[in-house]
């Protein structure tokens, strides 16, 4: 940072401190510092106050966080000579991704932000409701004695759902949240729900007429 005289009120000072935590030296000097420098000069050109200054600050901050979003994917920024060094440590990456998510939620725009908020609140309420229900009605599903090692994933098919009121709340809530979050797939969801009901009806009929058939875990226990 040669030749800079940064006072306490210069815009972008905090961003520069954050950037020093997030980015390696090469990325910092080639990409981040010029972006912050543009912010500082534009704000300086805008004058001491008013809307123009605020707009300049807003554009500069947006540019910085956009940069934070794309920086993890910049392949040329890792110096070839620094073998063994970690350019973007795991913890820092998580911190960056977390801050990016928060920033995105703030800037995605009023319409999308409303939907995101609705989905987040619905998800939180749904989680609280499911938790409360299972506190009162403990699940009969056996839990494995040893923790299974699984790669991080979201896989609805591997979620164990009992055939009871809790399971129904889970399924209806999941479908509702996905339908609210992704309105374009609502007809697919509707068709899948109808098909699923037919399949469930067929399975219940079959297991009712053949109560001793199949593997033990396949027997439906209606409570």
């Amino acid at each position: 940072m040669s030749g800079s005289t940064i006072g306490p009120r210069v815009p972008g000072t905090t961003l520069l401190k954050i950037a020093r935590l997030l980015f390696n030296e090469h990325l910092l000097s080639a990409v981040v510092q010029p972006t912050i420098s543009d912010l500082q000069h534009e704000v300086g050109d805008a004058g001491p106050g008013g809307v123009k200054r605020l707009r300049a600050q807003w554009r500069g901050y947006c540019a910085f966080w956009t940069l934070a979003l794309v920086a993890p994917f910049v392949s040329w920024a890792s110096p070839a000579g620094d073998a063994g060094t970690v350019a973007f440590p795991d913890v820092i990456a998580r911190l960056a991704v977390g801050s990016i998510v928060v920033t995105l939620l703030a800037v995605v725009g009023p319409v999308l932000a409303v939907w995101v908020t609705v989905v987040m609140v619905a998800g939180a309420l749904f989680a609280i409701m499911i938790h409360a229900w299972y506190d009162r009605h403990p699940s009969d599903i056996p839990t494995p004695t040893e923790p299974q090692r699984r790669s991080p994933q979201i896989n609805f098919s591997s979620t164990e759902v009992a055939g009871n009121m809790g399971g129904l709340i889970f399924v209806v809530g999941s479908v509702f949240i996905v339908a609210v979050g992704l309105p374009s797939v609502i007809w697919f969801m509707f068709a899948a729900t109808v098909a699923g009901c037919f399949l469930a009806w067929g399975l219940v009929s079959w297991y009712t007429s053949h109560p001793k058939s199949g593997l033990p875990e396949n027997r439906i226990i209606l409570r």
Binding site: M1, S4, V32, P34, D38, G44, L67
Partner: protein
């Protein structure tokens, strides 16, 4: 830098080379302003950094005037390789357009 990476010239890199060749050395923000929305503030320096790694452009920090506030800006200019690359690519695109003309 891999040979294949040097040989490719994506649209944004070509635009930057065209602007720097026609308008002269510029800061990143000036490139954004001259690009009619094709270049964005948040990513222009990523593109410029990649071009520097390919040796298509070179940059220099501006001298800070006495009493100057903030970080010094970087001014970018095309290298000889960048100018040649642009000439070759433009000729290639023109020839290809001629070949594909119905």
């Amino acid at each position: 830098m891999a040979h294949n990476a040097v040989m490719s010239l994506p649209r944004k890199e070509r635009l930057i080379l065209e602007l720097l060749t026609s308008e002269g050395p510029m800061f990143g923000l000036q490139l954004v302003e001259h690009s009619d929305g094709a270049l964005k503030r948040g990513t222009v320096y990523v593109t410029l950094g990649r071009m520097e790694a390919k040796r298509l452009v070179e940059s220099q920090q501006e001298p800070v005037p006495p009493g100057g506030i903030g970080l010094p800006r970087r001014i970018y200019r095309p290298t000889a390789l960048g100018e040649r690359m642009l000439r070759v690519w433009t000729a290639f695109a023109r020839e290809l357009a001629w070949e594909m003309k119905p």
